[in-house]
């Protein structure tokens, strides 16, 4: 086993273990912290894949923004201090069906994919290549712009909701 495989296993165990803790935990605040650990584990896997930009973006967006948002949500939830909280509500069967369906779709996609792992070296200037691909009309310029329009819409919507009338 190479060092890289060992590290991959380590980050995999961290991610999956923390994810399990998120699901089975009874203290909402703790599960939110476990979720941050999940994000961190995924960032570690990005580093192993030699995608440092994605690792940093993972830390920045998921741990720095989404994680904080979730913790805020948890803190503003009523009766969060009542211990132990029930793990599921009456809609658990719906969630279970959706989860199994999602797992099925993902597994099917993974099965369909011919995993021909090409051992190409990661280009030295991968960040500038990524940047160019995002603004190249042949590349991902359109999805990139659509995503930013979506975000602007969300921003304006938030302002509209909270503005004083």
């Amino acid at each position: 086993m190479t060092a890289q495989q060992a590290l991959f296993l380590l980050f995999g165990v961290i991610t999956l273990g923390a994810a399990l803790a998120v699901v089975v935990g009874r203290n909402l605040f703790h599960t939110a912290l476990w979720l941050l650990l999940v994000f961190f584990g995924v960032a570690g896997i990005y580093v192993l894949l030699e995608a440092p930009f994605f690792a940093a973006a993972q830390l920045f967006i998921y741990m720095g923004a989404i994680g904080i948002l979730i913790i805020f949500g948890v803190m503003l939830t009523r009766r969060v201090m009542r211990q132990p909280l029930p793990r599921a509500n009456e809609q658990w069967w719906l969630a279970a069906i959706m989860a199994v369906a999602l797992l099925g779709v993902l597994a099917w996609l993974a099965w369909q994919q011919p995993w021909t792992a090409a051992a190409a070296a990661v280009p030295e200037n991968s960040i500038s290549l990524l940047g160019l691909a995002l603004v190249d009309p042949e590349g991902f310029a359109l999805p990139f712009e659509v995503a930013s329009v979506l975000l602007v819409m969300a921003l304006i919507g938030a302002v509209m909701i909270v503005r004083e009338r």
């Binding site: 060092a3 203290n27 605040f29 703790h30 912290l33 941050l36 961190f40 440092p52 930009f53 690792a55 940093a56 973006a57 830390l59 920045f60 741990m63 720095g64 923004a65 994680g67 904080i68 913790i71 805020f72 803190m75 200037n125 991968s126 960040i127």
Partner: protein, 413 residues
């Protein structure tokens, strides 16, 4: 190699010497790399700690002098000339204090928070260039983005400390902390974006190399915005609402004592030095200075001098300015800094791009710097005009409100 040649690039040479020693001892290349990485990690983690011990002394001394006091001194108990070993005494006191754990705290997050906040403060130092070439922990391609990502990801630690302390002051302080840090992250990120656009790279070493003219004189507006935002990020005085003593006792650290409190305290100072180092790298030309080509170690000297200057500026601001109100702090970021930064980034991008379109062979370094400086100044003047107009309107509004209040009072009487 002569003594002078060795000393002229002492950091890299010591590294090479150790590497040669380990290889000669018959180690594989992988192990040598691992050991060298560990050594540089230890050095990089120890450096800010050593600096901070003296910085705390200097801070207390300067603050005392500015406030008409003496500060640490040897008049009571002997503490060295000018009280210089006072910090060591404090450190020993903190380390030997009883570790008090208040009833009702959430044990694991409560104990984890000081460790994590300390670790996050040290992470930044991995990508700070101390000198040309290899005098850097790791010249990551994402350099500055790594720093911003870590300082953003470390946000939750404050929340963790505040919430797990089971104290309402701590919780309110944690909420404030997150509100302030998230608000000021945006102008900070965008002002860094202007730097990255002009430098053409995220790597800290490339950004330093791109500064033929220090970016402070090319991008004065982003420099100012970055400085203000980093003041807020390190919880310095005008934005220091996390531990506003008069309102929140000591903020999210209120339930911590002994060395756990000490770790928060140290992390704050390490963050201040770290922010000064980042500002130096981004805007003051990092290790650039005269005769660096001949003796690379001079680069480290220039770098440390510039960082000390920034730390001094930080101290002056911290000591002299009063604290703002929480809504003023947030409004200043969202209603003033964010729009200003957005405009600045757009203008900088357009001017830079326009220059390269106009002059096919590329313009000279000085012409480019001058054009960008002029653009920055135009934006600054326009901002000044808009802000003063807004201020006048606000003043009229307040006066009208006061007049109405007076009238009402008279009618009532």
């Amino acid at each position: 190699m002569g003594v002078w040649a060795f000393l002229s690039n002492v950091i890299v040479n010591i590294g090479d010497w150790l590497r040669g020693l380990l290889t000669a001892a018959g180690m594989g290349a992988g192990w040598v790399n691992l050991i060298m990485s560990l050594i540089s990690a230890v050095v990089l983690a120890a450096f800010p700690l050593v600096v901070v011990i003296f910085m705390i002394w200097a801070y207390r001394k300067i603050a005392a002098r500015m406030q008409g006091r003496l500060g640490p001194n040897s008049s009571g108990t002997w503490a060295g000339p000018w009280g210089i070993i006072q910090t060591f005494a404090d450190a020993i006191k903190m380390l030997t204090k009883e570790d008090i754990r208040p009833q009702g705290v959430d044990v694991v997050p409560y104990n984890l928070a000081p460790i994590l906040i300390f670790a996050a403060a040290l992470m930044v130092w991995a990508v700070i260039p101390f000198g040309p070439g290899r005098a850097i922990g790791s010249d990551l391609g994402i350099g500055i983005f790594y720093i911003l990502a870590f300082s953003s990801a470390a946000l939750f630690v404050v929340l963790m400390a505040g919430w797990s302390s089971n104290n309402k002051y701590a919780t309110v302080s944690a909420f404030r902390a997150v509100a302030i840090l998230i608000s000021y992250e945006i102008p900070q990120l965008l002002s860094v974006l202007a730097v990255v656009m002009v430098a053409g790279s995220l790597s800290m070493q490339r950004i330093v190399e791109a500064q033929e003219v220090p970016f402070l004189f090319v991008l004065p507006l982003p420099a100012l915005i970055f400085f203000l935002a980093s003041l807020a990020e390190v919880n310095a005085r005008p934005f220091e609402l996390l531990e506003a003593e008069s309102e929140l006792v000591a903020g999210y650290q209120v339930e911590y004592s002994g060395m756990k409190f000490g770790m928060f305290y140290l992390a704050e100072f390490i963050n201040a030095v770290g922010m000064s180092a980042i500002f130096t790298t981004l805007f003051l030309g990092g290790w650039r200075g005269p005769w660096v080509g001949a003796a690379p170690i001079l680069g480290t000297v220039w770098f440390l001098l510039k960082v000390s200057l920034m730390v001094l500026v930080w101290m002056f601001v911290q000591i002299t300015l009063p604290r703002l109100r929480i809504d003023q702090v947030l409004a200043f970021s969202w209603k003033f800094l964010v729009p200003l930064t957005l405009v600045t980034v757009c203008v900088v991008g357009l001017v830079d791009r326009g220059l390269s379109e106009v002059a096919a062979g590329g313009v000279g370094v000085w012409a480019r710097a001058g054009a960008l400086l002029a653009a920055n100044l135009v934006v600054a003047v326009l901002t000044w005009l808009v802000a003063s107009l807004g201020a006048r309107r606000e003043q009229r509004r307040v006066e009208a409100w006061r007049a109405a209040q007076l009238e009402e009072a008279e009618v009532g009487a």
